[in-house]
């Protein structure tokens, strides 16, 4: 069974009487340990997909299973718990709390999961070691460079040992050199067995991941899976009958 199973998921907004299908009957599987990217131009529905996968939003139709649990029908508090325990987020604008120092920012998810202070600190320090920032733990986010801030955000996303990490344009606010370093960090984390989903509009960034899912107009337009044995760089057209793709 896949880590994430999306089945016929639609998300429909109503704007001034007009029906907008942000996601239209999407089905998708993500296995544990996969490194994937979700690409698409702005307005394609990739952010909506990420929000639904990340338990920030509920679908209008369809079912989602995350780590063996149906999450499309969960209450707000249960969704919050799922976000806390199973999902890590990395955002384009880092989204660190400016009033807290680096260590406190990394500790924040564990505060909501009710860990005691000593465990929080220990795990936060370990997570910071993972991103090579343990010596900056007392700094404020504003005292760090963009790349460092993003690494703190990554440490925060990893600290609760989530099943899957979503990175929404993680390099969008960084110069190309720093962005490269962040992508390298993601690749390293992936090699350690973590499940990571990059959400981006940039095919170049998406190129670092073996599997790429392209979204257009709320539908999966194209899937590329370089991990299929010997089929490197093969572009596989979506197959309707397989139940994975979309017409």
């Amino acid at each position: 069974m896949a880590l994430v199973e999306l089945r016929n998921v639609s998300k429909i907004y109503h704007l001034g009487g007009e029906e907008i299908r942000a996601l239209d009957d999407v089905s998708l599987d993500i296995d544990g340990g996969e490194f994937i990217s979700i690409i698409g131009p702005s307005g394609s529905g990739k952010s909506t997909l990420m929000h639904i996968l990340g338990c920030l939003d509920s679908p209008t139709k369809g079912t989602i299973q995350l780590d063996g649990k149906m999450i499309h029908s969960l209450s707000g508090a249960e969704l919050a718990r799922a976000r806390n325990q199973k999902i890590g987020f990395v955002f384009q604008f880092f989204n660190l709390l400016p009033k807290l120092n680096v260590l406190q920012n990394v500790e924040l998810p564990m505060i909501y999961s009710g860990l005691n202070a000593r465990d929080r600190r220990e795990r936060a320090v370990n997570a910071l070691k993972l991103v090579d920032l343990e010596n900056r733990s007392k700094h404020r986010p504003s005292q760090l460079s963009g790349g460092q801030q993003q690494r703190v955000a990554i440490a925060r996303a990893l600290v609760n040992e989530p099943k899957i990490v979503f990175a929404d344009e993680p390099t969008g606010n960084l110069d190309s050199h720093t962005g490269e370093a962040i992508l390298t960090l993601f690749r390293k984390l992936s090699e350690q067995g973590r499940t990571i989903a990059l959400v981006t509009h940039d095919p170049e960034i998406a190129a670092v991941t073996p599997r790429r899912i392209e979204i257009r107009d709320g539908k999966i337009a194209k899937q590329v899976d370089a991990t299929l044995a010997g089929l490197d760089r093969l572009e596989r057209a979506a197959d309707v009958s397989s139940g994975i793709g979309v017409s």
């Binding site: 989204n95 998810p109 999961s113």
Partner: protein, 454 residues
């Protein structure tokens, strides 16, 4: 997310916006301080009024006085005897609910003279020694007359300080205590020896006024003059003290022998008492005690109801009414200022969450539930309110100091624990109420919208 974390976050938020928080807290400080100060003032006023009530004997003291005979008994008018000493004995025998019974015979227009000085007592009374207890008198110099004086109809008197002030000079003017015990004065031409003097009775306000004048004698401009009765720090109960200081007591028997027996009409001395005071054992049993007394008196009065009871209940009620009124008006003002403080908190909390939409979004994205956001905002609002509450309690002490300086002769304000607890709890309630709307807003915020917000 435990409560301690919420409180820490609350303090950090407040600390991060020191000036803004200070202004917000100020609203609560003023509200709490005015609530405490108001209740302290009312308590002081209440104490003053109650002291006056106790000074005249308290609610358990009841006067039995003459009353016109009811219409239905008009034909028996010539049989009516009025209140006499017989009633006193009868009550002593048959009304166990009464603690003390004091007969009183008054003489109006008693003129007391000595060395060409004259004092006119409004309260020249022949009574028993137990009048001391009945009317809450304290003998400071000498002694009260006793049963032997009563038996012998001795020409002795126990006087209040007004007589001393008029006939011997007041200690304020003389600069030393003057003790008239042992001196002889003439009452309506009859020589009496002063055997005792009561202490000087004064209200809290009068005492303070006197001390204030001792420190800073008031400059009198123009010709010397008496400034009249009215104003001088008398307050509501002021006349009680003035009356008490004018008291001149002589034994009942002496009154009867020396004055009453000579003043009757048609050479028949008038045996009626001017009034008869009773004190009940237990105020809760006032009704029963009065009924018992009435039964006894109907016996001695041959069924003619030519007497009536006058209690201090009216006065006690009046005190309660004025206290309630003062409390209500002060309470409303303080409540309004607390409300305004609460609105200030709500305003700031709304501004604060608008400012922190992104933070709320981040917190929700990493696992904060709606309820933990709700609690966080409520706690922040309560921290502000409780800080204001604590500071307000401290400020109230200063506010009362200020009020005392502004008006030193008023009753001493008294801060009560109840008022402090009430004010503090009110500030907490205001904190919760003011935080409610912002907290609901924060809890309802969608994390997606919040993260997009700039």
């Amino acid at each position: 997310m435990n409560l301690f974390n919420s409180i820490t976050i609350g303090f950090k938020e407040i600390w991060a916006h020191k000036f803004r928080s200070l202004l917000t807290v100020l609203g609560i400080i003023l509200g709490v301080a005015s609530l405490v100060a108001m209740s302290a003032l009312v308590k002081g006023m209440e104490n003053g009024l109650r002291a006056a009530l106790i000074e005249i004997g308290g609610v358990e003291k009841v006067r039995i006085e003459d009353q016109d005979i009811p219409q239905t008994q008009m034909h028996l008018a010539d049989q009516a005897v009025g209140n006499t000493i017989k009633d006193v004995y009868a009550l002593q025998q048959s009304a166990p609910l009464l603690k003390t019974i004091s007969p009183e015979m008054r003489l109006r227009n008693a003129v007391i003279t000595r060395d060409g000085k004259m004092f006119q007592s409004w309260n020249f009374v022949g009574t028993w020694a137990n009048a001391l207890d009945m009317n809450q008198h304290v003998v400071e110099h000498g002694r009260m007359f006793n049963d032997i004086d009563e038996e012998n109809a001795a020409s002795v008197c126990v006087v209040g300080t007004s007589l001393r002030d008029e006939l011997f000079g007041s200690p304020e003017k003389a600069g030393r205590e003057i003790n008239p015990v042992g001196e002889v004065v003439s009452i309506n031409g009859v020589p009496f020896t002063i055997i005792g003097m009561f202490k000087h009775y004064e209200s809290d306000m009068d005492r303070k006024l006197r001390e204030l004048e001792k420190d800073k004698p008031q400059e009198q401009t123009g010709p010397t003059r008496s400034r009249g009765w009215g104003s001088r720090g008398s307050g509501m109960g002021g006349f009680v003290y003035r009356m008490k200081n004018m008291t001149v007591y002589i034994p009942l028997q002496t009154m009867w022998v020396k004055f009453r027996s000579a003043s009757g009409t048609n050479n028949t001395p008038d045996p009626r008492l001017s009034s008869l005071w009773i004190k009940v054992n237990d105020v809760d049993q006032l009704d029963q005690a009065l009924q018992q007394s009435r039964n006894v008196l109907l016996q001695t009065h041959r069924g003619i109801e030519d007497f009536a009871f006058r209690t201090q209940e009216d006065w006690a009620d009046q005190i309660n009414t004025s206290i309630t009124n003062a409390r209500l008006s002060g309470g409303i003002i303080a409540a309004i200022s607390l409300l305004v403080g609460g609105i200030g908190i709500m305003n700031i909390m709304l501004a604060s969450i608008t400012e922190r939409v992104r933070e709320i979004g981040i917190r929700k994205a990493i696992g904060a539930t709606d309820s933990s956001m709700f609690i966080q905002i409520i706690v922040e609002s309560m921290v502000i309110a409780l800080l204001g509450g604590v500071a307000g309690l401290i400020a109230s002490a200063a506010l009362i100091e200020l009020l005392v300086i502004l008006s030193p002769t008023e009753n001493t304000p008294m801060i009560t624990v109840n008022a402090m607890a009430l004010s503090f709890i009110s500030s907490a309630v205001v904190g919760v109420l003011a935080g409610l709307l912002p907290a609901i807003k924060a809890a309802k915020l969608s994390p997606i919208q919040a993260l997009r917000y700039d």
